[in-house]
Assembly symmetry: C2
Homo-oligomer: 257 residues x 2
């Protein structure tokens, strides 16, 4: 069981202020902790049930692990249905992008605000083999607990860069830079390169004025709605998914009419 | 200003029990209410600021509209940032599907549980011209406030059927029935028909055993991850988006390598 003091300490990480003060973020749930253990992130401590600890003895040999009752875990958890393990992990903010490879697709996020959207984008980017995501500094914090949970472990694999998008794009303007825009070219009829940067704009305001000059092509996912009153737009994570799919499917669509 | 009694009455709709008792659901936000006003849904009442009412006089001629202060609206709102208008609307559960047209794509949801996922699916379905979505009766309630908000107004356009998926699929087995499955055929290399039903399974458990016999083809969205430890799956709304895109883009991809 956890002491009263430890319980109070771990519970305090529901506060953003405390997480920032310690430079730690929260990872929860059995699957997420499994992903964490095979990642190269530095773990501060794990709080888990005795059953969980017994099953993971080898994997957590060098980590501080504290045994807790399910009731303790309920108390410190940020989830509606707490599971058997909860961890504090050191944040690692990166400001340098990776060198872009020959057939690499890079995502650049221009101030995505909803944590669910960012987490979903990280997860789908990982699926589509996107190695790095560049985020404007006003983009929601990657270590926000809702981002971490929605990423389903992909947060441990994708290289997340926070910085000035203007500077990052200016440094890479030799690579074709695309952006999603309702007035853009039909994505289904465009010839897309394998190496590209795709910029996704803010949920409400789209792409910032200052980075517009870097965009070589605007892409549009056409609507097939026949209603007189059509939907205005797609959710940003859904649009990102379709664009990633279009860039990655190249060469995979033989046999289609 | 609202009377104390009215304030109490409207605030009570944060409770699912009260919403069900009255057969009413909550619609919030200026954009959503604009979509509501051009839909054929029956409005019980609108609570709004005097500014909003002034701007919408003609549109709300036959509706009970109550003036409220921003503070009143904050009090009854389910949103973090309440806007200028809030409405109660009559629920209309449908059990009959529409007659399937020649080039129609139908979505069938086998117990989607997360309200954000259902709302996002309704929004993207509307974008891709999907006229009707069939939901298993265990699928999250379409009138859950989180579903309504995530649908961004598309809930007023898409014909949502709740019922027994086994029966619905059995009645339409003359149409090709597809389902998303990690073991399925690569969606990018499959020849897809214009008329089809696509079944999406539950977030954790996939497709139910009892409806498996109706599936003519299982489809898989391949992962392009090169990590030794790959992501397990895509979020269900993201997978639905990519499948809708693949079915709808047919004939639109001339000029591609």
């Amino acid at each position: 069981m956890l002491s009263k003091n430890k319980l109070k300490f771990f519970s305090s990480f529901s506060s953003k202020k405390i997480r920032e003060e310690y430079g730690l973020f929260v990872v929860e749930g059995n699957k997420m902790i499994d992903e964490l253990l095979v990642s190269n992130h530095t773990i501060h401590s794990i709080v888990a049930t005795s059953d969980w600890i017994e099953k993971h003895t080898k994997l957590v040999a060098n980590v501080e692990v504290l045994e807790a009752s399910s009731k303790d875990l309920e108390c410190i958890s940020l989830l509606k249905s707490p599971q058997d393990a909860w961890a504090l992990v050191y944040t690692e903010y990166k400001s340098d992008p990776l060198l872009i490879e020959q057939s690499e697709l890079v995502l650049a996020l221009d101030t995505i605000q909803d944590p669910g959207n960012l987490g979903t984008i990280i997860r789908l980017a990982d699926w589509f083999g996107v190695r790095q995501i560049w985020c404007s500094s006003q983009t929601v914090d990657v270590y926000n607990p809702k981002v971490v949970q929605a990423s389903m472990g992909s947060i441990f694999r994708v290289h997340m860069v926070y910085g000035n998008l203007f500077t990052l794009l200016a440094q890479h303007s030799y690579i074709p830079i695309y952006a999603a825009d309702l007035q853009g070219e039909n994505v289904y009829t465009q010839q897309l390169p394998k190496q590209a940067i795709v910029v996704m704009g803010n949920e409400g305001n789209g792409i910032s004025q200052e980075i517009l000059p870097f965009i070589s092509t605007f892409l549009h996912i056409p609507s097939f709605s026949t209603h007189s009153h059509k939907p205005e737009s797609l959710n940003v994570s859904v649009a990102t998914a379709i664009l990633c799919s279009e860039f990655k499917r190249i060469g995979q669509f033989i046999n289609k009419i």
